[in-house]
Structures are given as C-alpha cells and as structure tokens.
Amino acid sequence: MVGLRKFFFLEKEAKTFARLSRTSRRQPCKSFLVLFLKKEVLSVLVLGLCLASPALAAPVVVTSAWARATLPHQDEGAAYLTLQSKSGDTLSDVSSPEAGMVMLHETAQKGGMSNMVDVDHLYLPAGQSVALAPGGTHLMLMDLKHPLQAGDTLHLALHFEKAGTQNVTVKVLGVHATGPVP
C-alpha cells in the first residue's frame, strides 16, 4: 500500500517533470518508470535522460532528399525532401555543416510572378506527406563552404519541435535533375 502511494506520488512528479521538459514525450518513459519502481530502483538521472532523449519521440520520416549541384559562381543552392510525421510535428530550424545558414523558403509562383517567402515553421499535419520540391518550398542553402557537385553528399540537421534533431544525408544531383529517381 505504501508502495502504491509512492508510485502515484512519483508518477505525478514525473508528469510535472515531463510538462516542464522541452521534449514532452511521456509514454515510453512511463513504462520505464514502472519497471524501475517495481524493482524499487528509481534513478532520477535515468528518468531525466529518458525524458531528454529525442530518440524516443516519434521520428519524422524523411524521404526523397536531394540537393541541386551549385551553379557557377554561386555560393547558394537548394535542397528538397519529403517529410512525414505520424503524430504531427513542426520543422522549426535546419542547419548544415556545409552551409553558413539554411533557410526555409517558399517560391510563391502565382500569376506569372515568382516571390520568395520566408517560412519560419513548416507544420507537418499528422500522417500527411509534406513535399519540398522545385518551384515550391525549398531549403535555401546560404554561404556554402564549397560548391556542391553531383555525387557529393550534403549533411542536414533538421530540428523538429517534438521529434528533436534528426540528421539526414542528402544526395547532390546534377543541375538537370528534377528530383531523385526512385
């Protein structure tokens, strides 16, 4: 009985902790918590690690990632990919060791006009595929440290609000590419 009360108390505490934590995925942690409690071995450190680990959040599925080879004299380029989150997520930031800055842009092509619009956050509705493709939303690679050539690999760190940071490698395709060949 005392053990049970202790369990509820600790679970309540753990929930508060989870609410305060930036990565608020509780489900996998809860089962660990129960396991540790049963054995009466509760380590706050382990719990903390568990809550902080983004690997336990539903990862965003990244497919069709590619970048266009840079054109002569250009230190900027574009990368494209398709994102799908099972439970819904938001892409809030992107970085790359090969680029000084990566910006999320949308080429708004309407009525014969081409405007670049900054996109601060890209919302990924649950279960829906969100495709970044030429002539639409793209990752603009600014201040590239070296030109991208066909066959190269580009590294991107995608920062999601829920899933945390996911690293992806992106294939560089020639300037005539319109997307990866499946």
């Binding site: 002569p72 574009a78 092509q109 006009m113 405007n115 002539g135 300037v175 005539h176």
Partner: protein, 197 residues
Amino acid sequence: MRANLVGALAGLIVLTGLGAAAVLPRLAGPAPAATGAVTIGGPFALVDGHGKTVTDKDFRGRYMLIYFGYTHCPDACPATLNDISLALDKLTPAERARVAPLFITVDPERDTPAMIGDYVAAFSKDLVGLTGDQAAINAAEAEYHVYAERHLLKHGDYAMDHSSIMYVMGPDGGFVGIINDGTKPVEIAQRLKAFGV
C-alpha cells in the same frame, strides 16, 4: 445632382488625361511595329557572357524564347532554365536552330557578363545569358512589362521578386505568345512547334 455630374465629368477628364500620360511616353519611344497601344517586347541592347553587345536585331529570322531571372535565384530560375534546356532537346536540329533561348537578368548589379554566361552554359550551350547596366535592364523590363523588385532576406542579402514567364517572339521580333513557368519540357516543345518554330 448637377454638381455631381460635373464632378464625375471632371474626374473622367482627369483620369483620361492621366491614362494618356501613362501610355504616351511608351509610344513616343522607339516602339516596335504594332497597331495596339499595349505592346510586349521591343528593342534591347545588352551584353552577353563574352562581354559582347547583343541586340534584339541579332536574332531576326529566329524565334526568341526569353526568360527574365537572376543567377542568385536558388529555386525558380534553375527549374525554369532546366525545363527550357530539356525542351530544346526535344526539338529537331532544324527547329532548334530556329530558337534563340535568352536569359535576361533582373539583377545586373550582381550578374556580371562572365557570371551570367557561365550560369546559362551549365544548362545548355544554346542559352544566351544577357546583362547590362541598370538603365538598359530597366528598359528591357519595361518593354516586356516585367516586374522585378529587391526583397531583403533575414541575413542582409537580397533576393529578387520577379515576373516568371517565358516570352516567345517571332522571326520579325514581334510578340507571338507566352508560356507559363512550371510548364513541362515536353509541353514547352509542343508550344514552340505550335507557334511555328
């Protein structure tokens, strides 16, 4: 009632005057041969990738396929120039010889002749990249009714918002038609053939 009528009439006269004032300077310039008040296209004198002056007259007898853009454009321009180069590959050699694909910059400050020449060469050996001083570019933009405006990016650099349309001009230099960007290469080739290439 009468005052309203007089006011409306006066407004109409003023508006007509303004309309004429807006149209007349364009007509007074070296306007291309056309009967209507609104024309698309006209003479230009720009500089190609080799630093050579190129005018519209150099392309008489061929169809000009003109697209305005800029080399720092990360997405729309490479996509469209790629579509154009793939469309050219779908023409017969004889048809292809009758098409002069031109890429005119809307960003002459950054696009030097060498830069725009190397840029278009990455897409197709047939593409001609053209730049010039700001006045020459402004004149070409006005003739083609091209909108182009700087758009500051977060980190201090700038992009250009611009009209993104392919213009087709006939062997006499006159306007033939437009092809929207985003048109698939095979369809661009079909449209060119339909225009008489």
